[in-house]
Symmetry: C2
């Protein structure tokens, strides 16, 4: 019960702080004395800080305003992308306090050197946050692949060429390490910090080479029985279409994945294809515009199926899709309108988090775990 | 708290009864004295009955075994089908105690005469259960159309030709009336009484003229933001395929709905098409076999999308599809295997409830509401 009440106090301050002890007591329905004891424990643990006496407009002694600590735990997020590695640390308030990125093509590289390189970035960010008086509370890693439910095993990440990889075997983060699919973490970022108000029933679609999606129902991520929900990229768009690496035919990825769009535009690149496509589209390149129209239509067809099945309130385009959205949206929305009932039609929005969604979602997932169970936070996350 | 504990006692007896008071106390973690007081109230309300003294093998006084009452509340379910109206009443134990059906084509009939005819069936079943000493606790109506979330309004039931119909305006059931989509109630029946063990993460697909589906995640029906989730019939199978009444093209319904299958087999009928198709298929009619193969493949393509998106543990074919499953399953499973990852592939099963699923789900939904909140049960459900 005390564990739960500690979390209630933290969440109250997180949602509405700075708040006085009396205000917290009012919000969560406990006595002022009970709240004071909980607050004392949270201040001692470095999770709350007192901003000093504030002048109260009401009766009674002026209270000290409480705020989430900016020197307490840090949530460390890492992202293994096909063409980059990134690490970011956020404090309890969600502010990014340190960040590191290494660009480079990770396709076909064996897991160990990639994870060692990521480990070096993690150490660099860990040192930076220690230097600011923060203590890493855990590390969450976003990967472009399937992670079996309640495990840390990357079962398959075809665009990296990884099968059954356990990042915990190489990364120096000990038991405080979690691993999750990048689309899941991108959707959680949207839920936690994306909107104002944040949507609570939505399909989040993002793309790098593959196309990932995640479904949030009533504020909860739908993970699926095995942890593999959200594979929008393999929803059939044209059942007799081009062969896909998954074994199927005509999957969405064959029409709207980065490589498919490059191919349709007659382009090749070894760099970041999204930048190339966006630049060419902005310059009016007709082949690129046509390729993006086709990708948008394919996204609309696949999303029409998802909308008919799930009836979400919103569709959110994130990751690379947010950058390309000006050219994808017209055909996407046309297909969606043709194929869904007006009463059930969701709003289509573009994520404000851009390609940072999965990385921020990873970092925030660590912070959310502390807010949800502050008693479990000890301030020691392995050697990070 | 007492309301909640009354429900805990009832659910314990429902799940494992007959049970002694001591056994109930053990199951739910309350004292024997507290349980006795709760049991007394439930016996007085006619929800529990004592089966008489039982010989105890253990120490202490022999206890009286408690069972759900077979003379307490009845759950009344009704179904408005395109070619039939049905009503069934079940007791607290889930046993069907009365039933009535009227065959006849309801396509294009205005709502009022259909609902009046259903009202007559409801009265007949109401009299029958009263005669058995049961008291209707409410009426739930299954309709082949969309029902807006948390309302009783049938927003659209295209195969009946109904738009914005409120059955409560005609049916004599007062405030104890609920209305829900037939596919939702079919899936709930599967969840509550369908399997052993019942699946908790599944996609339930059923068909009459339209194709309905419902998604159950972790034992809860996914209703969607507006209440319209589960429209598998309008998932695009071939985006340039035949025009659909919904405004789209190439929807699943255009390949696997009853009328589409009849058309593909070169048949017409005014009777029950499923019976005709099953009889012809059993007799080896090659046109019917080919049409069912095509329907199965289209179902497999649409379900591959659903499986990639939702990662359910099982796909359950119910309603008319259960009867046709021998001829649908081979092509359905072939498409599903080609288009889904092996690790995420669900089992495909056929509902044992057949076409009774929605009707039984409706009746049981009333009983579940009593088990979940026995204090709300007063034994008076309007004039039924």
């Amino acid at each position: 019960m005390r564990r739960r009440n500690l979390s209630l106090v933290l969440h109250a301050v997180a949602a509405e702080g700075p708040l006085s002890r009396a205000a917290v007591a009012g919000r969560i329905g406990l006595t002022r004395a009970a709240v004071s004891s909980l607050v004392d424990e949270l201040v001692r643990a470095g999770l709350l800080m007192e901003l000093g006496r504030e002048q109260s407009g009401g009766v009674g002694r002026p209270g000290s305003a409480l705020s989430l600590s900016d020197r307490g735990p840090a949530g460390v997020g890492a992202e293994i992308g096909v063409d980059h590695l990134s690490v970011a640390a956020v404090d309890l308030r969600g502010k990014v306090r340190a960040r590191a990125t290494a660009e480079g093509d990770n396709r076909g590289r064996p897991p160990e050197p990639v994870l060692k390189e990521l480990g070096a970035l993690l150490r660099r960010v860990g040192e930076a946050v220690h230097g600011e008086g923060l203590r890493p509370a855990g590390v969450a890693v976003a990967v472009p692949g399937l992670v079996a439910r309640d495990t840390r095993t990357v079962v398959r990440a075809p665009n990296l060429g990884w099968w059954d990889v356990d990042p915990a075997a190489v990364l120096p983060c000990g038991p405080q390490l979690t691993v999750d699919n990048e689309a899941n973490l991108g959707a959680l970022a949207e839920l936690w910090i994306g909107g104002n108000p944040a949507p609570r029933d939505f399909v989040h679609v993002s793309a790098e080479i593959g196309i990932g999606a995640a479904v949030v129902v009533d504020g909860r991520l739908l993970r699926g029985a095995h942890g593999y929900a959200g594979e929008l990229g393999h929803v059939p768009v044209r059942p007799e279409g081009p062969r896909c690496a998954c074994g199927g035919r005509g999957c969405l990825e064959q029409y709207a994945g980065e490589e498919a769009v490059l191919r349709a535009a007659g382009l090749t690149t070894t760099g970041r294809p999204v930048r190339l496509l966006a630049d060419r589209a902005a310059a009016g390149d007709p082949d690129v515009l046509r390729a993006l129209r086709g990708a948008g239509a394919a996204l609309g067809i696949a999303l029409a199926g998802a909308v008919n099945l799930l009836d979400p309130r919103a569709v959110v385009l994130g990751g690379a899709l947010s950058r390309l959205s000006p050219w994808l949206l017209p055909s996407l929305e046309r297909e969606l309108s043709r194929r869904t009932a007006e009463a059930a039609r969701p709003t289509v929005t573009v994520s404000g988090l851009g390609s940072d969604g999965p990385l921020l979602g990873a970092a925030h997932s660590v912070i959310r775990a502390v807010l949800d169970d502050p008693a479990s936070y000890t301030g020691a996350a392995g050697e990070v």
